[in-house]
Symmetry: D2
Subunit: 112 residues, 4 copies
C-alpha cells in the first residue's frame, strides 16, 4: 500500500472527503493536530524574527531544538494513529506485510 | 557567557544593530539563513494543509521528516558560525571554558 | 502485552525454548542477528583500545558513530520482525491496541 | 588538522606515548572513560545473550536504547574534552578554522 495507492482501509465510505478517494485519511485528532502544526509554524516565524533582530546564536539554536521536539511529537502522534488505523486494518485484512514495511520505513526516516 | 550576558565578542562595534548591545550577533549568512527559515515556515504550513485535506498519513510523515532535515541543516549552519565567531573569540580572549560548555550543551540538545 | 506478560503469540509451540514460556520469542534472523551483535561488541572493545592507545579524539568519535549506526540497524531489524510477528498476531487476534502502544513507545525511545 | 595529521597541540611532550607521535591524545578522563566503555561492551554482550535466550523483542530493544544513551554520553564527553583541548589550542594558535570544521563534522555524524 504505497502512498500513491493511498489507503482505502482508513477512509470509511461515510468519511470520504470529496476529491481523490485514493488518498483520504481523516486524522482522529485532526483539530488538535492542526492547532499544534499552526503553533509550530508560528515558532518557525519567530526564529526568522530572531535572526532578523540579530539575536544571540545560542538563543536561536535553543528555539530550533524546541521546534524539533514539537515536530517529533506531532510525528509520533501521526505514527501512532496510522498504526492504530491504516496498519491495523491492513493486518486485520491479511495485508499487513506491506503496511508494516511502510511503517518501519517511516520510523527509519524519523530516526534521522 | 550565558545567553543572558549575550556575546560582546561577536558584535564588532561597526555591526552593532541599535537596541540592546548585550544580545547582538549579526549572522554572517543572514540573508541566506532567513530565506531557508522562510522556506521551512512554508513547508510547515504545507503540512497543515495536508492534514486539512485528509492526506495519507505516510505522505504527511514524509513531509515532516523533510522539514526536520531542513531545520537540522539550519541549526548546524548556526552552530558552525557560532563556533567560528563567538566561541573562537572567547577562546582567543582566554575565556573559552564557558563558551565551550555552552557549545556542548547546544550539541546535547540538538542531538535530541 | 507488557513485556512482563511476554508475548505468547510469537512462540509457536514447536519453537518454545525450555524455561519460562512467558518470555520466549525466537527471532526469525537469530543467527545473523547474533553475528551482528558480536561484531558490535568487538567494535566497542576496539574503541576501548583506541582510548588505551591515546588515539586522536576525532578518530575515536568516528568509530563511535559507526557503532551507533550498527546498533540502530540491529534495532530496526528487531522492530520490523517484532511488528511482523508479535504485533501482527496481536492485531489479528483483536488485541492490537496494547501491542501498538508498546510499539510506539519503543519508537519514541529509539528516536532518542 | 585532519585526523591523519593528528593533533600535536594536545600531546604535551611529557605525555607522549610511545609509537606514532602524530596521533597521540591522552584523554583527561582516561580511566573513567575506559570503565564506561568496558560497561557498554558488557551491555552489548548482554543483548547477545538475550537474543540467544529468545527473550521478548521489546526487552531487547529497551536494552539497545540504554546502550545507545551510554554511547552518546561517552561521545559527548570525548567531544567536550576535544573542544577544551585540541580545538581550543588550535584556535589559540590561530589555526581554528580547520579544527572547528572538523568539530562540526563530528557533530553532524553524531546527530545521526
Amino acid at each position: 500500500m504505497t502512498s500513491s495507492e493511498g489507503c482505502l482501509h482508513c477512509a470509511d465510505p461515510v468519511d470520504m472527503a470529496p476529491g481523490d478517494p485514493e488518498r483520504v485519511v481523516v486524522q482522529p485528532e485532526k483539530k488538535r493536530l492542526l492547532s499544534r502544526i499552526n503553533r509550530i509554524e508560528g515558532q518557525v516565524r519567530g526564529v526568522g524574527r530572531m535572526v532578523e533582530q540579530d539575536r544571540y546564536c545560542v538563543d536561536i539554536l535553543t528555539q530550533i531544538t524546541a521546534i524539533r521536539a514539537a515536530l517529533d511529537s506531532v510525528a509520533l502522534q501521526l505514527l501512532e494513529d496510522h498504526a492504530h488505523g491504516c496498519v491495523s486494518r491492513a493486518i486485520a485484512a491479511g495485508e499487513g506485510e506491506e503496511a508494516i514495511a511502510e511503517l518501519i520505513d517511516v520510523v527509519r526516516k524519523l530516526k534521522g
